[in-house]
């Protein structure tokens, strides 16, 4: 989902054009609206609100292409380090706006870009971010009852949203993520199972990778590195070799 950022950095200066026309939510009857919302794990709401929500979701999931602005506005800035006398000045990049990424163009009815970057460029999209924020409020709204991770069930993208929601709704788990601590894959999988989310291991790993979440094959609390051999050793000649025991990692 968050793939090659090289691909995403293509510039596109075309006008903002919706990819797929919006279905006539206003004309649908209530059971149909309920059904559609349920696919996103949203509980039934009063009819008017369901229509609004579905419109928001459609607008978000059918991303508009926007032009890259971060490559024009950002650039490395050098700050000579005052404490540095003899070596070269320390140069580092001052962080600016988060990188804007053009979402990949959608084929009709494809909603895989639900999780793709919706980051804002400086120029265009406060409106977009508002739409997205209100959309994500569906998942993060702690006032609403009855939205469980298990409700976002069948389709893969819904499952991924459910995993996301599972992490967000578990403060201990989310705190680990936020502190870059590895998540135990075994524990995560059993939590998913308990929540009724059926997601294959490969897809789960893809999701964790896309979110830059580190995972561990060890049980939570166990030090994974204790299961590996020491990774640096010394030879008698003074040369040092590094050993990498990577065969326990499923992918890298």
């Amino acid at each position: 989902f968050f793939y090659d950022m090289v691909a995403c950095r293509k510039r596109n200066k075309g006008p903002l054009v919706p990819i797929t026309p919006m279905p006539g939510f206003s004309d649908m009857d209530t059971p149909e609206l309920k059904n559609k919302l349920n696919r996103f794990g949203v509980r039934p709401l009063p009819k008017k609100q369901m229509v609004l929500k579905l419109k928001e979701i459609h607008q978000y999931t059918h991303q508009l292409q926007s032009s890259e602005s971060e490559e024009e506005t950002s650039g490395p800035q050098c700050h000579p380090n005052a404490s540095n006398s003899q070596s070269a000045p320390l140069c580092f990049k001052q962080p600016t706006a988060p990188p804007a990424v053009s979402p990949v163009k959608l084929p009709p009815s494809e909603e895989d870009e639900l999780l793709s970057a919706s980051q804002n460029s400086n120029t265009s999209s406060t409106a977009e971010s508002e739409r997205y924020s209100s959309y994500m409020a569906i998942y993060d709204d702690s006032d609403s009852e009855g939205i469980t991770a298990s409700q976002a069930v069948v389709r893969k993208k819904d499952k991924l949203l459910a995993v996301r929601q599972l992490i967000l709704s578990d403060p201990k788990l989310y705190a680990r993520v936020l502190q870059y601590q590895p998540l135990s894959l075994a524990e995560l999988r059993s939590s998913l199972k308990a929540a009724g989310i059926r997601l294959g291991a490969a897809k789960l790993l893809d999701f964790l990778d896309s979110q830059c979440i580190t995972f561990s094959m060890a049980k939570q609390g166990q030090n994974a590195s204790s299961r590996r051999k020491r990774r640096v050793k010394t030879t008698t000649s003074g040369e040092r070799k590094a050993e990498e025991k990577s065969d326990r990692l499923p992918c890298a």
């Binding site: 971060e70 830059c212 990774r231 990577s246």
Partner: protein, 239 residues
């Protein structure tokens, strides 16, 4: 050429008796002691560092680097590894980690190719570093700290959830999750923030820096002159 990476948690474990780590290019004279020319540091866990290292050493097998072309004939080993590194920093699962790329030898240093610029939060820098010796004051401060409220939600903050800003005189204190959600408003499809504006002093801060500050690792490297004598500086290297 050997590539290696370092973990920032390792430096808290005390004296690292694994000793010298290496990374970088062979001397052009062929054999001889290895020379460290380039390091990537700031990995928040052993696992993250090891995985990065494995992928850097095996780009042709790594699932995340299938788009990276094999070494061409005109590419030196170092150039190739630099290209692989440039690609790695731009893709998940590494593109949001709080890393720093550091050249240690002026004569080898290269810039990122224009089409392979790293994420904005990953600096490219130069110079040898070592760990600063840490004063003991910080532990005491924690015990004596008064009860604090999160600036974002107003609820009391427990030590284990506590984030504070590292800018001098900024008093901002918040919950880990509150601040993460605040930063992610601009980046809503992700779970792990990269950067944002401190709600207290409004400086732009990196999420990785906030976490390091929370763990007491922030600002604990100092530049040293590359011509330093006696003990080799890598003996003290605990990143």
């Amino acid at each position: 050429m050997v590539v290696e990476v370092e973990s920032f948690y390792e430096r808290r474990i005390g004296q690292h008796n694994a000793g010298r780590h290496r990374g970088g290019a062979k001397r052009t004279s062929g054999r001889g002691p290895w020379e460290m020319v380039l390091i990537v540091h700031g990995f928040p866990s052993d696992i993250a560092a090891l995985r990065f290292e494995w992928a850097w050493q095996h780009p042709h097998i790594s699932r995340r680097l299938s788009h990276v072309a094999r070494r061409s004939r005109k590419e030196s080993s170092l150039q190739f590894h630099w290209r692989v590194l440039s690609n790695m920093l731009r893709v998940a699962p590494w593109s949001r980690l709080p890393l720093t790329v550091r050249w240690l030898k002026q004569e080898y240093r290269m810039d990122f190719a224009p089409e392979l610029q790293p994420p904005l939060h990953i600096p490219l820098t130069f110079g040898c570093v070592r760990a600063k010796t840490k004063p003991q004051q910080e532990c005491k401060e924690q015990d004596e700290r008064q009860v604090e409220r999160c600036v974002l939600c107003g609820v009391f903050v427990k030590a284990m959830d506590r984030l504070s800003c590292f800018h001098p005189s900024c008093q901002m204190v918040s919950h880990l999750i509150c601040l993460a959600k605040h930063f992610l408003k601009a980046d809503p499809s992700h779970l792990l923030p990269v950067e944002g504006k401190c709600p207290g002093c409004h400086h732009s801060v990196l999420w990785g820096s906030l976490i390091r500050h929370k763990n007491g690792c922030h600002g604990d490297l100092e530049e040293i002159s590359s011509s330093s004598s006696q003990s080799h500086w890598t003996d003290e290297l605990q990143l």
